[in-house]
Amino acid sequence: MWSNLPLFPARASTLAGHVDALYFLLVAVTAFFTILIAALILIFAIRFRKQKHPVAKQIHGSNALELTWTIIPLGISMIFFVWGAAIYFTETRPPKDSMEVYVVAKQWMWKFEHTEGQREIDELHVPEGRDVRLIMTSQDVIHSFFVPAFRVKADVLPGRYTSTWFHATKPGRYHLFCSQYCGTAHSSMVGWVVVMTPGAYQQWASTGTDGSLASTGEKYFQQYGCSTCHRSDSQGRGPNLVGIFGKPVLLDDGRTVVADESYIRESILNPEAKVVSGFKPIMPTFQGQIDEEGLVALVAYIKGLGNGMANPPMPVNNPEKAPYPVPPKPEASQATPSAK
C-alpha cells in the first residue's frame, strides 16, 4: 500500500529548492507554535483544574507580555514576508536569454508553440538546464499553468499575455495541471512536461517542423500586407519594426512604453490605443482576422527582426510528415495555420 503514497512533490527546478526551504521553515514554526499552544492548554488544564486549584487568581494582564507576543510574531512573520517576496521577485522576472515557448490555453487543452516551430498539445518538451520562459494567453476563460514539480504557477488570462519561467534540473515526466477553474473538463485539462537531456532534446527538436514560428510569422507578415507599411529598408507609412522589440517607444501622446509582447499584440488588435509618435493612426485593426496562434507567430517574427533572426527557420526536410508528434487526444480541428 505504501508503494503508491508519495508525501512530497518531486523537485525538478531551481526554484523548487528555495520554495521547499521556506516551506520547511514555516512548517517548523507552525509545528512549534501549535505544539506550544496544545502543551500549554494541557498543562494548565491539568495543573489548574477545579479540584486541584479551586480558587482562581485574578490576573488583569500585563502590557509587557502583550507587547512581547505582538512584536515577536511580527518579527517572525517579517522573515516569511521578505524571504517569500525574494523568491516571488525572482520567479516573476524571467532571465533575458531564456528560451521562449508560446502557450495558448483553450477550454480544456494546452497548445505549445516552440520558436523553432514545433507545436505540441498537452505535452511540453523542454531541455534540462536551460531557462524556459512561457508567454501565455487564453482564448476563452482564465486558466492557470501549474507544474507542481517546478513549484511554478501563473494564471493565463484572455486578452493579455502573462508569462512565467522555470529552469528544469532533473529529466523526467512531470504533471501539468490547470489550477484555475475553467469549466466542465477543468480536471482533464492536464498534461505532461517532459524534461529531456540537452542531446535528447536536440534530437527531438529536429524531427521536422514546417518552419520556425518566426518564419510562419513572416508568412503572415506578407499575407496580411503588414510589409507594405512597415518596411524594413526605408521609412514607410508605419514605423520600421527592425530591432524594435524590447526598446522603449515614444507615443504620440507623450507616453513611452516598452515594446514587449503585450504592446505588439495590442498594436495588432487595437492599433489606435498606442500610436507611435510621428506616425498617423491609419493602421486598420486586425481583431477577429488573426487568431491567437497567428498573433503568437507575428510576435515571434517581429521579435526576431533586427537581431539577425535569432531563431533562423529550421530547414524543412519532410513537409508531408505530421507536424506534431502524435498528440494523445485527436484535436477536432487539426488546422495548423500553415499558409503553405
Binding site: F8, R49, Q107, C178
Partner: protein, 545 residues
C-alpha cells in the same frame, strides 16, 4: 418548538408568552427571531453538508466515476455558496448574536426590531432563491463566480444564484446596522465600553465589516447578472474589460467576509474560556482592540487571493506585507486565551472542550494562513488542496467549533433545559477527531500539487483522499449527534435554572428562558467584565434571602 413542560410555576417567558404561527412569523422579539434563524441556518448547514459528503464520496477514486464532471462542478459550487453565504456568514451573529446582544447590554430588544424581522425574511427570500437556483439545475461557476467564465461561458443559473446572494446580503446589512446602533445607544446604565462582554466587542467589529463590505459584493454580483442579462460589458474581456477587476471587487468583500465568520466565534470563546476558568480575561483591552484591528486590517489584504492571477509584482508585495499584519491580532487573541487559563480553576464541561478544540485548530488554521500570505509559497500552493485545508481549518475547525461551543454554552439560557453532558462530550471529541482526519491529509495533498475543484485526479493522490473521506464521515456523525440530543433535551432535558454555569454577564441574571422583555427592571452595572471572583465569593456565602 413545542413548549417545554416547565416544572416550576407556569412562569411566562418568551417561549410561552404567545402561541400560534402568527406569533412566530410576525414576532419582533429578538429572541424568537434568533430561534427562527437557528432553524433555517441548521437546515442550510445540513444541505451544505450533504453536498460536502457527495464531493468526498466522488473523491474516493481517482477517476471521476460517481457523478459526471458537470454535476461535480455544481456540487462544489453549491457547497461553497450554501455554506459561505447561508451558513458561515449569518450563523453566530444572527443566532447567538440576535439572542444575546440585547440581553448582554441590558436592553429590552434591538434598536430596530422590525428591521430585525425583515432581516430574517430577506435571508429566507435570498436562501429560497438560491434553493430555486439549485433545484432548477444549479450553478457551476464556483462560489467565487470568476469572470469571464461566469459572465459568458457558463450556461447555468448564474443570475438566479447571484440574485439570491444579493438578497441574502441585505440580511447581513440589516443585522449589522441593528447591532451597531444597539451597542452604541442602548447599553444599560453603568455599562461602559470597557465593561462590555467581549462577545459584544466581536459582534460590533463583525457588524462594522458587514455594513462596509457587503454592498461591494452586492454591486459586483449585480454587475455579473447585468452582464449576462443586458450585455453590460464591464468585465467582458472581448471588449477590453479586465477580468482582474471582478476579482478585486469580489475579494474586497469576500476576504473581510472570512473575518465576519471568525470574529463572532472568537467572542464566544472569550466568554467560554473565562467562565470555565473562573477568571477575568487576560488583557481585556488588547483582546477587544484586536477585534477592531482585525475588522479594519481585514479590508486591506484582499489581493492575497490573486498573487498568481496576474496582478503586478509591486501590488503583490504590498498585499503580502499587509496580510502578515492582519495575522498578528489573531495571534494576540490566542495568547490571551491561553494566559486566561493560567492560574484559573478550570472545569471541563462541553463548551470548554469545544473551546480547547477551537484554540488548537484555529492556531493551525491561522499559521497555515502565513504559508499562503508568503508570496514564494503561495505561487506553489495557490488553488490547491493546501488552500482548501487552510480555510476549512479556520472555518470548520474555528468558526463551526465556536458555534457549537456557543450553542452548548447558551442552550440552557435559550431553552431553560440542559443538554446531556455525556453525549455532548462524545460529539465534541468525534468532531475534533473527524475534522483532523478529514483536513490534515489535504495539507499534504496540497503541497504535492493536487489542484482544487478537480473531479478526477492522478492515482498517487488516492490514499490521502480516502483518509480524508473517512474523516468526513466521522465529522458528519459529530454534527448529527448534537442535532438529536438538542431536540431530545427540549422534552427530557434537566431544568437549567437561571445560571447553571455560574457565569458572569447580564444574560445570566434573568430567568431561563428569559421573559419577553428580558429583565423585570433594567439592570445597573457596577462591576467590571468577567468578575468571577465576586461571583464565586457570593456563591460560598449563601445570600440571606
Amino acid at each position: 418548538m413545542a413548549s417545554a413542560a416547565i416544572t416550576q410555576d407556569e412562569k411566562t417567558n418568551y417561549l410561552n408568552a404567545d402561541y400560534g404561527i402568527k406569533s412566530w412569523l410576525l414576532t419582533t422579539d429578538h429572541k424568537r427571531i434568533a430561534l427562527l434563524y437557528l432553524i433555517s441556518i441548521t437546515m442550510f448547514f445540513f444541505l451544505g453538508g450533504f453536498f460536502a459528503m457527495l464531493i468526498r464520496l466522488e473523491l474516493l477514486t481517482p477517476a471521476g466515476d460517481l457523478v459526471t464532471s458537470d454535476t461535480y462542478n455544481k456540487l462544489f459550487t453549491m457547497h461553497g455558496i450554501v455554506m459561505v453565504f447561508l451558513f458561515l456568514i449569518p450563523a453566530v451573529p444572527t443566532v447567538l448574536g440576535n439572542f444575546l446582544v440585547p440581553m448582554m447590554i441590558g436592553a429590552k430588544d434591538l434598536a430596530f426590531p422590525k428591521l430585525n424581522l425583515a432581516s430574517w425574511y430577506v435571508y429566507m427570500l435570498g436562501g429560497g432563491w438560491v434553493l430555486y437556483a439549485i433545484i432548477t439545475g444549479g450553478v457551476d461557476t464556483g462560489w467565487t463566480f470568476y469572470t469571464p467564465y461566469s459572465t459568458t461561458f457558463s450556461n447555468t443559473n448564474v443570475v438566479a444564484a447571484a440574485v439570491g446572494i444579493f438578497i441574502a446580503g441585505f440580511s447581513s446589512i440589516f443585522t449589522g446596522i441593528n447591532f451597531i446602533v444597539t451597542i452604541h445607544r442602548m447599553r444599560a446604565p453603568g455599562l461602559t465600553w470597557r465593561r462590555l462582554p467581549l462577545f459584544i466587542w466581536s459582534n460590533y467589529a463583525t457588524s462594522v465589516i458587514m455594513v462596509l463590505g457587503t454592498p461591494v459584493l452586492a454591486i459586483t454580483l449585480l454587475l455579473v447578472a447585468a452582464e449576462r442579462l443586458f450585455h453590460l460589458g464591464i468585465f467582458n474581456a472581448q471588449l477590453g474589460g479586465d477580468p482582474l477587476l471582478f476579482q478585486h471587487l469580489f475579494w474586497f468583500y469576500s476576504h473581510p467576509a472570512v473575518y465576519i465568520m471568525i470574529l463572532p466565534g472568537m467572542g464566544v470563546i472569550s466568554e467560554v474560556v473565562t467562565c470555565f476558568s473562573r477568571k477575568r480575561v487576560f488583557g481585556y483591552d488588547f483582546v477587544a482592540l484586536a477585534s477592531i484591528c482585525i475588522a479594519v486590517l481585514g479590508f486591506l489584504v484582499w489581493a492575497h487571493h490573486m498573487f498568481v492571477a496576474g496582478i503586478s509584482v509591486y501590488a503583490a508585495m504590498v498585499f503580502s506585507l499587509l496580510t502578515f499584519f492582519v495575522a498578528i491580532p489573531s495571534a494576540v487573541k490566542v495568547f490571551n486565551w491561553i494566559a486566561t487559563m493560567y492560574q484559573g480553576s478550570i472545569s471541563f464541561e462541553t463548551p470548554m472542550l469545544y473551546a480547547f478544540g477551537f484554540i488548537g485548530l484555529f492556531t493551525m488554521g491561522g499559521m497555515t494562513g502565513l504559508f499562503l500570505g508568503s508570496l514564494g509559497i503561495d505561487v506553489h500552493v495557490h488553488d490547491t488542496y493546501f488552500v482548501v485545508a487552510h480555510f476549512h481549518y479556520v472555518m470548520v475547525g474555528g468558526m463551526v467549533m465556536a458555534y457549537m461551543c456557543g450553542l452548548h454554552f447558551w442552550w440552557p439560557k435559550i431553552t431553560g433545559k440542559m443538554y446531556p453532558e455525556g453525549w455532548a462530550k462524545l460529539s465534541a471529541l468525534l468532531t475534533f477527531v473527524g475534522f483532523n482526519l478529514t483536513f490534515f491529509p489535504q495539507f499534504i495533498l496540497g503541497y504535492m500539487g493536487m489542484p482544487r475543484r478537480y473531479h478526477a485526479y492522478p492515482p498517487e493522490f488516492q490514499v490521502l483522499n480516502v483518509l480524508s473521506t473517512a474523516g468526513a464521515s466521522v465529522l458528519a456523525v459529530g454534527y448529527v449527534l448534537p442535532m438529536i440530543y438538542f431536540v431530545w433535551s427540549l422534552r427530557y432535558g434537566q431544568d437549567a435554572g437561571p445560571n447553571p454555569w455560574r457565569a458572569a454577564g447580564l444574560e445570566w441574571m434573568t430567568s431561563s428562558p428569559p421573559p419577553t422583555s428580558n429583565f423585570e427592571t433594567t439592570p445597573v452595572v457596577t462591576w467590571e467584565a468577567y468578575n468571577y471572583d465576586e461571583i464565586d465569593k457570593q456563591q460560598e456565602v449563601p445570600v440571606a434571602s
